[in-house]
């Protein structure tokens, strides 16, 4: 469906076809060469160590690294099953964030983008406003969010009190109470994350040819019909991409929990990536970080391939 069809008619001689193939190969090469070179240098070369590091440990007596085989890996797995380990929570939370991203934030963004696309009054103003959180550094945003929910100076608590719902405010603070810390963190992600997707989906929707819409309208198509049968399928490839990016969040999200709750209370909001960052920072443990990193790649690869296969079936590519 999407393959580039060789369009040299069979009448042409062999020589010409070969020439066409060479031209094609050259073209492909010219477009990929520089990025590939960049990739080799800046990624492969600088990360060559990581795999080796995961099989090593730092030896204080020699001031260098020594090989310890799979010890780091077995250690990681045993620490996983320790009674007070925060790793299971970290994995659980990482998955929560993925589910949130793909099944809450993305659908909400889609609806929002759709209504903006349908020329909602003040649509342009809304679009700029929704995009605001994406432009601001996450450090500042999380700081603002924490202020809003602070017990002494936060506006949210004052609001609740004035509505007579004061007893619902947790004594330990919104981020200090086990039951509210994680949910509130998820709320933050929704609040700050919608704009990014809206911009991309708006771009995709603006590409939909108007004739299809117009002819549908003539047939008496309602707005919801339009959304489900036309808009959604036609921006399918963008949605697939965003869904895939939502999967990578499992292994990379750490800034929000780090900045808002510091992984607390008592590890309640930890994620896998936060674990890696902390192990490097506080214990200077490059080797353990490398091990976990490699494990992430090993686990992540089949997940990515599987998700991609599912998405290809659910969202076939339409060319237009």
């Amino acid at each position: 469906m999407n393959a580039h069809r060789e369009s040299a008619p069979s009448r042409e001689g062999r020589a010409d076809r070969k020439k066409a193939q060479w031209k094609r190969a050259l073209f492909i090469f010219s477009f990929i060469a520089i990025p590939l070179l960049h990739f080799t240098l800046f990624f492969i070369y600088t990360n060559a160590d990581t795999i080796f590091l995961s099989f090593q440990t730092f030896d204080n007596s020699t001031g260098g690294y020594k090989w310890v085989g799979f010890r780091n890996y077995t250690e990681f797995f045993t620490s996983f099953v320790q009674p007070y380990s925060i790793l299971p929570k970290a994995v659980r939370n990482s998955i929560y964030f993925f589910l949130l991203n793909d099944f809450v934030i993305l659908p909400l963004s889609f609806f929002a983008a759709f209504f903006l696309y349908k020329k909602m009054p003040l649509g342009n103003v809304f679009r700029i406003l929704f995009f605001l959180p994406s432009i601001i550094s996450v450090v500042v945003l999380t700081m603002l969010f924490s202020f809003m929910f602070d017990s002494s100076i936060g506006v949210f608590d004052s609001l609740l009190r004035s509505l007579g719902l004061g007893e619902h405010i947790p004594e330990l603070g919104w981020f200090g109470d086990r039951r509210t810390a994680m949910p509130l963190l998820l709320v933050y992600c929704i609040w700050a994350g919608i704009g990014y997707n809206v911009v991309l989906l708006s771009g995709a929707m603006s590409r939909i040819p108007q004739e299809i819409i117009e002819s549908g309208r003539l047939d008496g198509m309602s707005m919801s019909r339009e959304m489900w049968s036309i808009t959604l399928p036609l921006v399918g490839s963008t949605i697939s991409t965003l869904l895939m990016m939502g999967v990578t969040v499992i292994f990379t999200l750490f800034m929000q929990p780090m900045l808002i709750t510091n992984g607390g209370p008592s590890g309640e909001t930890y994620t896998i990536a936060l674990y890696i960052v902390n192990s490097i920072r506080s214990e200077g443990n490059l080797t353990m970080g490398a091990t976990v990193g490699i494990l992430c790649a090993l686990v992540g690869t089949p997940i990515v391939i599987l998700v991609r296969k599912i998405l290809e079936k659910t969202f076939p590519i339409y060319e237009y």
Partner: protein
């Protein structure tokens, strides 16, 4: 549209060029010919001919840069052939280790906040400072650097590597921790500074009664367990004495976690004391403190919602721009436990210092000898004076701090506590600790938040630690090889 955007880009690129060329900061020249460019980027003698360059990269944090600029100016005054180039960076520790690993663009002296320098000493990236430690900054009649330094710092700065045992780090500053209190509020209400924990309890109840619960005894940053640990550890030391506390840090065997004997018995006593004041039910804490960080907790304190706050000597400098003129901040030493460790019948006052901030010289630095000269210079009596005067903070050396109009009441409190206490901070070079297996608190880190919430009791926590250590000790020893 396109034309406008191209024009816009062009104009802005022009501005960049102008911005970069036209604007360097102010240059000042003093009467004795010392030139200071842009608040310290370069400090040199105006008539110097090809001076040797000394590069110093320091953490530009709570103390700002005045102290090192003044020190450098004096150094240049006494050494006309030196040009000091300063680089201030609030997050120096983030890039320091990358730079050391790569060996490129090294300053001659790095001054970071506490971070793990030992790995780099092991790797041979740090210059040994033994000669420096043996020198006498104040002339023949004075003490050597090593003799003048607090003992615990001396031990900390030394390390056994493949090249032998040497000194690799140099102390920058020292801290004093404890309970910061609102002097004015205390005075107005007739409250007195408690010396024992029994008195502290009475005080807390009185604070609640006198103000009808409007003012709480304590504000605290619940998100950051470290602040609690200041008083927790001081109480631990009070319970068993310094020597016994130090024995914990030798990490000899799992028995160090056994709460039925010292040193862990002290840990349990300290945690029980902590519970008495900070468990949520006591009502002594400002509501919601468990989700606050140090800034919001400090805000509560400044606004008078609490009479005291667990903090350290940097609080005043940190809050300089936000504290109202008439606010009187004081620090009290941590009150004595009931059966505090005594020597000669008197309870010993301890103070838990935070892990040290330090200075190092890279092994591949360009001007190592000059760097050592500078460090020696910085601990001369007059320079130590200068430091404390400009930062309000002490350095861990022996020197008399003259009463100065520039020292605030708060600083005086701090200096007094330091003088009267035995100061100590935690560190250990045991493999099992450095590799992250045995820790100060096992099973997920410090128990303070759990204690506040009443999720665990001190005795249960300590017993679980012991069980865990007992089970795992041999594995840990093997894994840390």
């Amino acid at each position: 549209m396109r034309k406008i955007s191209i024009l816009l880009v062009f104009v802005l690129c022009l501005l960049t060029a102008v911005g970069l060329i036209g604007c360097t900061g102010p240059t000042q020249v003093s009467e004795d010919g010392i030139v200071v460019e842009n608040e310290g980027d370069a400090i040199y003698y105006k008539d110097a001919v090809s001076p040797t360059v000394l590069k110093i990269a320091f953490t530009e944090a709570g103390f700002g840069r005045e102290w090192i600029v003044e020190m450098s100016k004096q150094f240049v005054r006494e050494n006309h052939d030196v040009r000091v180039e300063l680089e201030g960076d609030p997050t120096l520790a983030n890039s320091l280790f990358t730079k050391l690993d790569s060996g490129k663009n090294l300053a001659d002296i790095f001054v970071p906040l506490n971070s793990a320098w030992e790995t780099y000493a092991y790797k041979g990236k740090l210059e040994p400072l033994d000669e420096l430690f043996a020198q006498k900054p104040d002339g023949e009649d004075g003490l050597t650097v090593a003799e003048s330094m607090d003992e615990v710092y001396r031990e900390y700065c030394s390390l056994s590597t493949k090249d032998g045992t040497h000194y690799y780090a140099f102390p920058w500053n020292t801290t004093v921790t404890g309970i910061v209190y609102n002097k004015k509020m205390f005075r107005e209400n007739g409250w007195e500074v408690p010396t024992t924990t029994a008195e502290l309890k009475t005080l807390c109840d009185r604070i609640l009664a006198d103000t009808d619960g409007a003012v709480k005894p304590f504000a605290y940053p619940g998100k950051i367990g470290g602040y609690f640990d200041y008083i927790g550890t001081t109480w631990w030391m009070q319970a068993v004495g310094l020597e016994s506390y130090q024995s914990f840090w030798d990490f000899e065997n799992a028995e160090i976690y056994d709460p039925s004997q010292a040193p862990a018995s002290g840990k349990q006593v300290a945690l029980e004391e902590f519970e008495k004041f900070f468990k949520l039910e006591t009502g002594y804490g400002v509501s919601g403190s468990m989700s606050k960080d140090h800034t919001t907790a400090q805000m509560d304190f400044i606004r008078g919602e609490a009479a005291m706050i667990v903090n350290a000597n940097w609080m005043e400098t940190e809050m300089k721009t936000s504290t109202p003129e008439d606010f009187e901040m004081g620090m009290m030493p941590v009150p004595f436990l009931e059966n505090a460790y005594t020597e000669n019948g008197e309870p010993v006052q301890y103070n838990y210092t935070t892990a040290p901030d330090y200075m190092i010289i890279p092994a591949e630095a360009a001007q190592k000898e000059l760097a050592k000269e500078f460090l020696l210079f910085s601990v001369r009596a007059d320079m130590l004076q200068l430091y404390t005067r400009l930062t309000g903070s002490p350095r861990p050396f022996q020197y008399t701090i003259e009463d100065d109009a520039n020292l605030t009441e708060f600083t005086k409190d701090i200096l007094k506590i330091r003088e009267e206490s035995v100061c100590y901070f935690d560190f250990s070079r045991a493999d099992i600790y450095m590799k992250g297996y045995a820790k100060k608190y096992l099973n997920g880190g410090d128990p303070y938040s759990a204690l506040v919430r009443g999720e665990v009791t001190p005795s249960r926590f300590c017993n679980l630690e012991y069980a865990e250590a007992d089970k795992q000790w041999t594995t840990w020893v093997q894994s840390s090889q």
